[in-house]
């Protein structure tokens, strides 16, 4: 029933899907992550602590909780699901879109944190200088803050992508386990690990997972050093 070695089509699609989901979630989160980090670093406003709490909550919450809350929100009987998604004919739960949303929510705080760290190291004098020289707020963001926080943005994206590759708890609840459609590497490993004789395949996929994570980490290091040299 289970091949002794060699991946089947559903295993390859699990690998491709993992990368696709993590990449999409990261790219979609990028503008929001930048905006939130900017707000938190350079602005004082009411409810800042609340926003900080909401953004960081997924970092400490069990992913299962996030998955379940998303299901209650987006499901067919859910709040957003019934009032917005169904009238528009959009199906989210048990599709790869749900996996993207779960991954985005879980990884978002990691991205915001890294970008904030990047922004906090920017010399405030440079920002003030650009403002006194006549640059508008938006101008300052695009010509001073964005390039100077690039390192944090890249670090945050890489971190979030890596976290996305491993997302399991929230994903299995909202995206289910559909081979070839929503089954990512962690879900496939979970399935193999709970089936007798699935050890070989589980181990093989663990190997793929370790390799992918290794590549991401090496890339992270490499880009960091390159930017050090450039800076």
């Amino acid at each position: 029933m289970i091949p002794m070695s060699g991946f089947g089509p559903s295993d390859y699609s699990a690998m491709a899907l993992s990368v696709k989901v993590a990449l999409t979630a990261t790219l979609l989160s990028l503008p929001f992550g930048f905006a939130v980090a900017y707000l938190m670093t350079f602005n004082k406003f009411r409810g800042k602590i609340v926003l900080d709490g909401i953004v960081n909550l997924p970092l400490t919450l069990p992913p299962v909780v996030i998955g379940y809350l998303l299901l209650l929100l987006l499901g067919r009987n859910g709040w957003i699901g019934r009032t917005l998604l169904q009238p528009l004919g959009i199906e989210v739960i048990f599709t790869w879109k749900a996996a993207v949303i779960a991954t985005a929510v879980v990884g978002f705080p990691l991205m915001v944190r890294s970008i904030r760290i990047g922004m906090e190291t920017i010399d405030r004098g440079l920002i003030q200088a650009s403002r006194t020289l006549g640059a508008g707020r938006l101008d300052t963001v695009t010509t001073v803050i964005l390039p100077l926080s690039l390192r944090g943005i890249i670090a945050g994206s890489v971190l979030m992508f890596a976290r996305g590759l491993g997302e399991f708890g929230a994903t299995i609840i909202v995206a289910g386990n559909i081979p070839g459609v929503t089954q990512t590497i962690p879900l496939a490993i979970y399935e193999y690990a709970s089936s007798p004789g699935g050890d070989v395949m589980a181990m093989a996929l663990c190997g793929i997972s370790i390799t992918l994570s290794g590549i991401v980490l090496i890339f992270h290091e490499w880009i960091g050093r390159r930017m050090d040299r450039a800076g």
Binding site: I2, G75, N77, E91, F94, N177, I178, V181, S194, S195
Partner: protein, 249 residues
């Protein structure tokens, strides 16, 4: 003062003696679909023999067998097929002579009552269907067997949501996140009102669903486990199984 010390002494002896009587504990690994019936029967047994207590672990039989293979404590293994019991026997983890048939069941398709689905051929028109993961859930294996016999596997590809056990399958249907699910008739009986049995999968399409009960290596050496094993074959046990909708012959 003296009386207080005496009281303390009595209390201490009482607590210590209570701890020193080890009630025999029987570890059960139970197929998800048998959860309620085995819980009731093990409670009946514990009422008869207060010295016996149970630890019940439920899940997909394939997952349970994997746990046992990896050293999870289990005295009696309940499965919705014979395959995983045979698997444990091959690995010398189960008592060779003890595999016995406990009950039978039927595969049904549940979904929203308004759905126009009267047979397997209508199922391919739906968008999402939940089955147990065939790698470890017998209900999913039986369903795949029926799809293969009916030559529908290709048309169901990418529509099958793999649940970790048959009860998760049912839950997906109850919540309405899938159009329908393949579960046992006994699961459908405890389903909420928003889903109902839409059709019964014809028996000619799959092997008869046969529940087996097996003593593991540790269970075979435990008198209480062997007693409970026999109790599960008693007339009383059969009556309770029938009450929950299982066939016993």
């Amino acid at each position: 003062m003296k009386s207080i010390i005496r009281k303390c002494f009595y209390m201490a002896t009482f607590i210590l003696s209570a701890v020193s009587i080890h009630p025999a504990s029987i570890d059960l690994s139970i197929a998800a679909s048998l959860k309620e019936v085995v819980t009731e029967l093990s409670n009946d047994f514990a009422n008869m023999k207060p010295a016996v207590s149970f630890k019940r672990n439920t899940g997909a039989p394939g997952a349970l067998a994997t746990q046992i293979e990896n050293g999870a404590p289990c005295d009696i293994f309940f499965s919705a097929n014979a395959d995983w019991a045979d698997y444990l026997m091959k690995k010398k983890l189960a008592d060779a002579g003890s595999i016995s048939v406990l009950a039978f069941n039927e595969l049904v398709f549940v979904g929203k009552s308004g759905l126009k689905v009267n047979g397997l051929n209508d199922v391919v028109t739906l968008k999402k269907i939940a089955i147990g993961s065939p790698k470890s859930v017998p209900a999913g294996e039986y369903a795949m067997e029926a799809f293969t016999k009916a030559d529908l596997v290709g048309r169901l590809k990418y529509k099958l949501v793999m649940a970790k056990d048959v009860r998760e399958c049912l839950m997906y249907a109850e919540r309405g996140e899938v159009d329908g699910a393949f579960v046992y008739r006994t699961d459908a009986a405890i389903a909420s009102r928003n889903v109902k049995i839409l059709f019964i999968v014809p028996q000619r399409l799959y092997r008869r669903i046969t529940y087996t009960m097996t003593l593991t290596g540790s269970g075979a050496g435990k008198k209480e486990a062997a007693d409970f094993y026999r109790f599960m074959h008693s007339a009383h046990a059969k009556k309770v199984l029938v009450k929950y909708g299982f066939a016993v012959k």
